[in-house]
Symmetry: C3
Subunit: 353 residues, 3 copies
């Protein structure tokens, strides 16, 4: 058996809330084909997307009330995955059911738990409140079936020094490389903090601040194992107290990433860039979205070209593991947290028996 690359006992983003309505929605998460829909009461159901009988994807069938009717022979499954109707027979085989996946809707995303249902504690959901649309404003998007292991995205986000090279013409800045950073970790989180003190303001932040002069800039990126990264980024006028905790003179944004492996070498990437300033400036919202993803020209588009090329190189090149540099400290700790979850995974343990 190939080595596991993700734990199954974890919450993974399945879709944006708005994607799931009164029709059948199919997406593969962690190698599991899942069909999801919104029940009449608004709650979301997520079932195994293969009929118990002959495996036809249930997503090719119909939603009737809160039930799914298979498009081949008409078996009916309720939102708990239990079969409630068999064609042309009265007795229902008690084993007739499809798997139901625990689901929680939180912070504008729908999270699914592909592992052991009994362990699916909502308390284990990652903190993703920045995505709520309340104090932070932004409209993100999704990369569906991005052609790389989700851990390569984690590597990418847990080391922003790559901005200097991948995004040399936009957000790249030599100060990123010149400034020291600190990595800390606790429980399932890893934090990479970098302060650039008294630097010339990068054009974007200067414009957002709306005043000239040197700034203190910060990048405080936190990984929540196995699949969420939140980057607290911003700038404030030098000597206005930001490093000491007073950001009141500055501007603050956050990049958000919630990842779901699709297979061992592809993933879905739900992203957003949110901010606390100019929250009603819809034109700014639109421009920030386009700065990230814009038909190949956004900064995330640049990352993804790199990530997919890296995955191809890994596939064709047996040289493993990677060699590492100082800049990889955040990524290495993040991988270690993922490995701990994989080692503790009850589903993986069963498969290995």
């Amino acid at each position: 058996m190939a080595e596991a690359t993700f734990p199954l006992d974890a919450w993974y983003p399945l879709a944006w809330s708005g994607e799931i309505g009164r029709s059948l929605f199919a997406r593969k998460i962690c190698g599991r084909d899942i069909v999801a829909y919104r029940r009449i009461d608004g709650e979301i159901a997520a079932l195994e997307d293969a009929c118990w009988h002959r495996l036809l994807p249930l997503s090719l069938g119909k939603l009737v009330g809160d039930d799914v009717v298979c498009g081949y022979h008409g078996l009916v499954f309720n939102a708990a995955g239990r079969c409630t109707h068999l064609p042309a027979q009265k007795t229902i085989n008690p084993s007739a059911c499809v798997r139901a996946y625990p689901v929680v809707e939180r912070h504008r995303l729908v999270w699914v738990w592909p592992g052991e249902p009994a362990l699916a504690d909502p308390a284990r959901l990652p903190d993703f409140h920045w995505n709520d649309g309340a104090d932070w404003k932004g409209e993100g998007g999704t990369f569906v079936s991005l052609g790389c292991d989700y851990r390569l995205v984690v590597d990418n986000l847990m080391d922003l020094s790559h901005e200097t090279y991948v995004h040399s013409e936009s957000i790249g800045h030599d100060a990123i490389l010149d400034s020291p950073f600190e990595v800390t970790h606790r429980g399932g989180t890893v934090t990479l903090a970098r302060w650039m003190i008294d630097i010339e303001a990068p054009p974007f932040w200067e414009k957002m601040l709306g005043k000239p002069g040197s700034v203190d800039r910060w990048q405080i990126v936190t990984f929540q194992a196995p699949n969420v990264v939140v980057g607290d980024v911003g700038a404030a006028p030098t000597a206005s107290g930001a490093p000491q905790g007073d950001r009141s003179q500055g501007v603050n944004g956050a990049f958000l990433a919630a990842l779901a492996p699709e297979t061992a070498t592809t993933c879905h990437y739900f992203w957003n860039f949110v901010r606390t300033f100019a929250r009603d400036d819809h034109e700014l919202t639109r421009r920030l979205t386009l700065a990230h993803v814009n038909d190949g020209k956004g900064v995330y588009d640049q990352d993804h070209r790199v990530l997919e090329a890296q995955q191809k190189a890994i596939d064709s090149n047996p040289r493993q593991p990677f060699f590492n540099l100082n800049i990889d400290a955040g990524a290495l700790w993040s991988r270690r947290k993922i490995d701990e979850l994989i080692a503790a995974d009850t589903v993986n343990a069963q498969a290995a028996e």
Copy 2:
């Protein structure tokens, strides 16, 4: 070795008679690449489609008289597969030959025997006389390289209850599910018979009958292992004696399916829908053909979407064997008949040694 999914000692449809003429015709049957052509005397030859010398497909060469000339080095093979000419040398290696497959042309189809030639008895050809164009009229077609195991098509045709769901807007009818059916089997055949007595006439049959009133409708589907299904279908005015054997007041059609595995997960499907009534109504013939296959809108098009999705689900889902329902009785017996042929297969036996 993967488990065999088809016997080789059997007659499989290679092509419609009209497809084979005075040029080289290539098709893969049961994993064997075959080149076929019509000899000057009108008989059909079928050879292994790979030159003895360097494997180039003979179908890329030329037909000269009754011989095939390889398009690379000009080796010549006669209709028995024996090499009759080698380039630039007089002595012919007695081993220089390609395999010749037994062929019989019958009922407008060309049947080929990929297994042990000594067993290729024309008496073992399936009964497919409905396709002759004599008493029954209809123009069918072919699905080449349909993306599913041929046995999924057998499953599909040996349980018409799926019509209610897959074809809900055309031939589906609740009466199908409400009516009991009987499965019988003898030798290599399985018959599934369903009579719907005194029902409201479905629109199609009402129109064909040309008179109002309730009908007795029948579906008597016979499988001939391993690869032929014939469905005797029709309707007659209730109490006109059809269930007792007098169909003279009714209308009678038959759906015909001759299947050839291409690989373990793809097949060629030769189909027709024939009828005994209104045989000279060419417009009806045309409309019946379009009702079955019409650029994605026909009933067979609907089946094939389901079948290909089912195959994909099987490929990606290790859950096997299928769970079964009462409605699967016809399919299960059909599978059993196929398995018996596979177990008895002389070629499979050799491969397993």
Copy 3:
């Protein structure tokens, strides 16, 4: 491990000289991804196309002076493959390097040695002087990623009897098959010589000679193991002394082939057709190029349809080894020379340990 199909200790054509300039050029040779570029002093460097750090293809980065800067994290490698800069750290890991491949530019091609660098002796370069543009004139081309094992091209060129069938409408000629040939071999070379004495001049050669009358035609094809074929071809008026060595009354051309395996079943094929006569006739040069490759209509296009079909047949057909004919003597000796190199290969030997 699959059986080796090529030695690594050999010179393979990577590109035409004109293809390598002041930008990063990527091509896979013998399964190795290679990035090549021209240094400021005009010499060519060829490196492993995967960053030491995280495997991103270096060809996605930038050429700065004589160094390559990785497009992900900015590692810098010099033309010897040694890392000279790491991001955000002063100490450079002494192991930080990528493989540098020996390269020689010769006869308008760039040759690379994918095997043990210490053995990369320029004295082992094949003789390819016909391609220089000095005494012989012609403009060839490249088939990149041709879909066949490079050895099938060798087979093809070391037996010109196929011209009769593959090129029956252009250069094919029954005289080729009717004339005896002689195969000799010495060291790593195999020579196939065929003289057609006192034959009617084929249209092409008659036109080139510019005078009527019967001719003596020759095809003297030499293989240099493992990957170069040069065909000395021409015609002279019968009895003008050509077979005895005086070609002064005749016209002389040469077809040139330098092959590089890309993978076990694909290759790059650098070809040319050169001549000693009418060297300033640019229109003739153009027409000769089009006669070979012309959007599917040239003679090499015809060969390649055959070669790719043959590779597909080999892939799907376990019948190996090939059966052989007298005409295969040149190809068989060529294969034997390749096998000797494979057996002696130091890299293959290591891999097998």
